[in-house]
């Protein structure tokens, strides 16, 4: 449990962090360290330099601008969990945050770190997909904005380039009802499967449903088949049953000693159905 030697640099601004990234080969960003440090200790990764961005105050904080909720990438899970603004503007995010790890983990781990890490069992990716988050990425040539649907490219990989930093995440802030259901791995507490769902409905008719699923597959995904089957239809238990029964269609689920693929796909169906039931009261 002793990492290989590395150099440590603390950045105090995004510019400085980007500069450090460019001037060091084999550097890695250190945010909350709650995914990176365990990997370092097991020597699964042995970067030459760590660039600590946790001291950059501009990366931290939650605000609402033009109806959107803007969350700095360095904001901790705990800050999101305790934010009244988040509770009001994005019930889904408010539902996810308290289900991550334990209190100690939530005090250190960051929203941006979790998204950038893209752990297949991470909780935030499901929610980012469900709210169609916009991820703002800073690089040498300014910033670019990527939608969650394009952000995750594979297991533990995203579109962030080695010389880029995720700076903030924008999510819709109009308070759309949402819920996150998580089946915890009894050992790790991570999601065997997690489903993040938002839904609007009016007088018994479904408006828009969005469903992000994590844990089941190497990359979190949107259960679009289910969404399409529901959007605009009248709410009924039968409709939800039928739609949810297709939630795992065509999935190639992960398999491990805790949950074979067949079990994961069962969980996807059951949990999507349960989340829909809670939001649509059917």
């Amino acid at each position: 449990m002793h990492p290989a030697p590395f150099a440590y640099k603390a950045a105090h601004s995004v510019e400085e962090a980007l500069q450090l990234l460019r001037s060091h080969e084999d550097a890695k960003i250190l945010a909350g360290g709650h995914s990176l440090i365990p990997a370092l200790k097991l020597r699964l990764t042995q970067p030459a330099v760590l660039i600590d961005i946790s001291k950059i105050s501009s990366l931290r904080g939650i605000r609402r601008e033009n109806g959107k909720l803007i969350i700095g990438s360095g904001t901790t899970h705990r800050e999101i969990e305790q934010s009244h603004l988040v509770a009001e503007a994005s019930p889904l995010l408010a539902s996810v945050a308290p289900q991550i790890g334990d209190v100690q983990v939530r005090h250190r781990g960051t929203f941006g770190g979790s998204l950038a890490h893209a752990d297949p069992a991470g909780d935030w990716p499901a929610a980012a997909l469900a709210v169609d988050a916009e991820l703002v990425i800073a690089g040498a040539h300014g910033t670019r904005t990527v939608h969650a649907s394009e952000f995750f490219t594979g297991m533990l990989t995203t579109v962030i380039e080695p010389d880029e930093i995720l700076t903030e995440i924008k999510v819709p802030g109009e308070g759309t009802p949402g819920i996150y259901l998580k089946h915890r791995n009894a050992a790790s507490g991570y999601a065997t499967v997690g489903v993040a769902v938002t839904a609007t409905h009016d007088h018994g008719r479904i408006g828009t449903v969005t469903i992000g699923v994590t844990g089941a597959t190497p990359v979190a995904f949107r259960a679009s088949i289910v969404e399409h089957a529901l959007n605009g239809h009248a709410v009924s238990a039968h409709l939800l049953d039928e739609a949810a029964s297709h939630a795992a269609d065509g999935l190639e689920c992960l398999s491990d000693i805790h949950a074979p693929a067949a079990y994961r796909s069962q969980l996807v169906k059951v949990m999507v159905r349960r989340a829909l039931g809670k939001l649509l009261h059917a």
Binding site: H2, A186, Y190, Y263, Q266
Partner: protein, 789 residues
């Protein structure tokens, strides 16, 4: 909670006196021993389950700045060539094949994580870097993990010295089992897997060795449950004279059996310290602990039962394949044999029973005792069997338990195989109390309603008796244990009346500093706070066998009581002398010797102590000083018992088990401290529930440990524990000086089958009668899914 009076010390829920130290970080654990110039030891470990070592190149590591030494088997074998086994047992002639257990791999690795080379460096980071620089070339061999596959023809051979990978065969026979099976109204055959578990104490194993070349003495701080046994085994295996070895096991953060064994890492710290002339420390990481520290359980059991149509069990036959892992650990052969087979009929009067154990080597971490050690494996069989019989004959499992119980008037009760005599018991009493607490009749009615509404709810009952307080030395010797199982106490009353107690048993979470002070405070009539308990240092404590098998209170406590009575006997002479009356004219009342008829005339033990140290005014023949020692060798084991009942709901769609209620009624004889007893029961139940639902050491077919970290090995968390409703009855042990029976393992033993029986009861409407542990959601759902197709 302060205790006002010494007379009320015994039996009071006094808060743990060790906690302020431990909670405020002022404990002294092995890893807290920071000696000047200490070097760090680390191990290069095998990435294979089974492989021939082609070559080991240590040159790059040895040349790395800060590295003090790199060693392989060839380097260390002159110091220690093999790890000793202290329980080399069998009862079937010469079937025992004890493979050599080298301290570092000798030509071959036989399990994933086996130590191949030792690196010693100036600090942990340097050592970790150097470990990566040792280049080992392996030629992988086929591995064998499954216990039955290991002894099947054609299995990869692990040790040349153990043909067919068989370590031993062992049998106990009582009555005529085959005959009874042939005549039984109903017969059941069932295979049960009692899965491999990893103890996971909060503190991993550590050792610090400081060899003094000038005096030839070595001090070893080590995470041990039994420092004197460690000292003996170090002496025997290294040739360092026993009186030159001081073993100190100070604060130890949990053992659960896994800190009984003497491990190579500990011996090699001594080797390196001797070799390099500096203290050497070693501290396992969690991942290392998972491969390098003994695992537990790991049986495959084939069971045959015969019963009458009323459910009275007439015959029980068990054939168990028990894995020792790749090498025989310190107590390994004794655990799946004597500790398992003797108690095979549990609390039931089963006149005909047989148990046959095949000890096998597999390409896995060595196994040894794990909380309950053998008795959970036996209890699980019985409690599953009772439920299977009940289902077969169509009776309530509670009635079948009652029908089979050893009755209260049968004690002392000799088991059919003749090995044990249960001291006392009242199994109806704990069962009745548990049923009453949970409201069993109403509960079954509730279950019927829930089932009608489509819910999968189940009720699981588990009654047990365990054999503990290990044990009479004659029995231990007869069972092949290479040691006595007596224990010791020294009570030193200081001139001021304050008391220091030296005990040969060891606390690593049990709270002896509190409970043992309570025993002595009562017997000496002094305040608990005036009694300090010393353990864990071979230079301070006379001798002792340590703690396992729920022996601390029965054996260590028994010794304390007897030593306390010796103090009282001597003090009584002094008191009579000081009071100027005959000894017969005084009596012990309320913490003091009082003159019969004039109780105001009294002398306390501190009064007598002062006189004993002044020494000028002592009765004839009484020696100065007030200090006594007692070596207590129990005449029998003790047999705590109880009944646990668990209520579960299984989620039909996800296979998750939710524990709705949990009632535990235990009888451990007299109670020293109810709070500590409850703590032991709580922790035990947590571990037992975890075996039922979550914990499992999983290897792949190549011998890789897939559950090699807390990310994949599911220990119970506080957040998933149900509320526990505890109840107690008190049936004192008739032969124990304190009347106590031991409570350290009971919770673990009882809870596993209670939970599994509950889940199986929940699933029984689907026609599911058995699923092997752990009952992980995925496995339960798969069974439900298969049953509904």
């Amino acid at each position: 909670m302060a205790v006002a009076s010494p007379t009320r010390a015994f039996g009071a829920s006094i808060r743990r006196r060790e906690d302020p130290r431990l909670i405020t970080g002022r404990g002294k654990f092995t890893d807290d021993m920071h000696l000047a110039n200490a070097a760090t030891a680390m191990f290069v470990r095998s990435p294979h389950g089974h492989a021939r070592i082609v070559s080991i190149d240590t040159s790059a590591a040895a040349a790395h700045p800060g590295v003090l030494g790199v060693y392989t088997f060839e380097d260390v074998k002159g110091f220690i060539s093999g790890m000793p086994c202290a329980w080399p047992t069998t009862n079937t002639g010469d079937t025992l094949k004890l493979a050599t257990y080298p301290p570092l791999a000798d030509g071959k690795v036989r399990y994933f994580g086996e130590a191949v080379a030792l690196v010693v460096a100036i600090d942990p980071n340097t050592a970790a870097d150097a470990v990566q620089l040792v280049n080992v070339e392996y030629d992988p061999l086929p591995a064998v993990i499954n216990n039955e596959a290991a002894v099947a023809p054609g299995a990869p051979l692990i040790h040349d010295s153990a043909p067919g990978n068989q370590a031993f065969r062992w049998s106990l026979v009582g009555g005529d089992t085959n005959g009874a099976l042939a005549h039984a109204d109903v017969r059941i055959s069932q295979t049960l897997v009692n899965q491999r578990l990893i103890a996971t104490p909060l503190e991993t194993r550590c050792a610090v060795a400081d060899y003094n070349p000038a005096s030839g003495e070595v001090t070893v701080w080590v995470t041990s449950q039994n420092p004197h046994i460690h000292r003996l085994l170090i002496a025997l295996s290294t040739g360092i004279p026993e009186h030159k070895i001081r073993v100190i096991a100070g604060d130890v953060g949990g053992g659960f059996g896994a800190k009984i064994p003497y491990y190579a890492g500990e011996a090699l710290c001594i080797f390196a310290s001797k070799e390099l002339g500096v203290p050497v420390r070693w501290s396992e990481s969690r991942s290392e602990n998972y491969v390098a520290t003994a695992h537990g359980r790991d049986h495959i059991q084939h069971i045959e039962v015969g019963a009458t149509k009323e459910g009275k069990i007439t015959a029980l036959k068990v054939t168990a394949y028990a894995s020792l892992g790749a090498y025989p650990s310190t107590a390994a052969p004794g655990v799946p044999t004597w500790l398992f087979g003797c108690i095979i009929q549990g609390p039931y009067d089963i006149p005909n029973n047989e148990v046959h154990v095949i000890g096998v080597y597999t390409n896995t971490t060595p196994t040894d005792a794990y909380r309950g050690a053998g008795r959970p494996e036996a209890t699980y069989i019985l409690e599953r069997v009772i439920d299977l019989v009940a289902a077969k004959v169509g009776r309530d499992p509670v009635d079948v338990r009652r029908l089979n119980f050893v009755r209260k008037d049968q004690f002392p009760f000799k088991v059919a195989n003749g090995t044990l005599t249960y001291d006392s018991g009242d199994y109806e009493l704990t069962l009745g109390k548990a049923l009453h607490t949970i409201g069993y009749t109403d509960l079954r009615a509730w279950q019927a309603e829930q089932r009608a509404a489509g819910k999968l709810v189940g009720i699981g009952v588990s009654s047990f008796v365990e054999v503990c307080g290990l044990g009479p030395s004659s029995a231990a010797n007869a069972m092949g244990f290479a040691g006595g199982l007596y224990d010791s106490a020294t009570i030193r009353v200081h001139p001021t009346g304050k008391v220091t107690v030296f005990t040969g048993v060891h606390s690593h979470g049990q709270g002896h500093e509190t409970s043992f002070a309570q025993i002595v405070a009562r017997d000496l009539g002094v305040m608990v706070d005036d009694v300090d308990v010393i353990h864990g240092d071979t230079d301070k404590v006379q001798h002792g066998m340590g703690t396992y098998g729920s022996r601390s209170a029965p054996v260590g406590g028994g010794a304390l009581r007897m030593a306390g009575m010796k103090i009282r006997a001597k003090a009584q002479k002094i008191a009579a002398h000081l009071l100027e009356v005959a000894e017969e004219d005084i009596e012990w009342v309320d913490d003091a010797f009082r003159v019969k008829g004039s109780p105001d005339k009294s002398k306390t033990i501190p009064d007598c102590a002062f006189a004993a140290y002044m020494a000028g005014n002592l009765p004839a023949g009484v020696t100065p000083v007030l200090e006594e020692q007692h070596w207590y060798d129990p005449e029998n084991f003790v047999f705590p018992f109880g009944t646990h009942i668990c209520v579960v709901e299984v989620d039909r769609e996800t296979g998750e088990t939710h524990i709705k209620r949990y009632v535990a009624v235990d009888d451990c004889g007299e109670i020293i401290n109810p709070m500590l007893r409850d703590g032991q029961v709580h922790g035990g139940i947590a571990q037992g529930i975890a075996q039922a639902l979550w914990e499992e050491a999983v290897y792949d077919e190549n011998g890789q440990l897939l559950s090699g970290s807390l990310m994949d090995y599911a220990i119970p968390k506080a957040s998933v524990m149900p509320h526990l409703e505890l109840g107690h009855t008190v049936t004192p042990s008739p032969h124990n000086p304190l009347g106590v029976k031991g409570i350290g393992e009971a919770g673990t033993i009882a809870s596993t089958p209670a939970v599994v029986n509950a889940v199986m009861d929940a699933l029984s409407p689907l026609g599911i009668h058995h699923i092997d542990m752990p009952l992980r959601p995925a496995k339960v759902w798969a069974a439900i899914d298969a049953a509904s197709h």
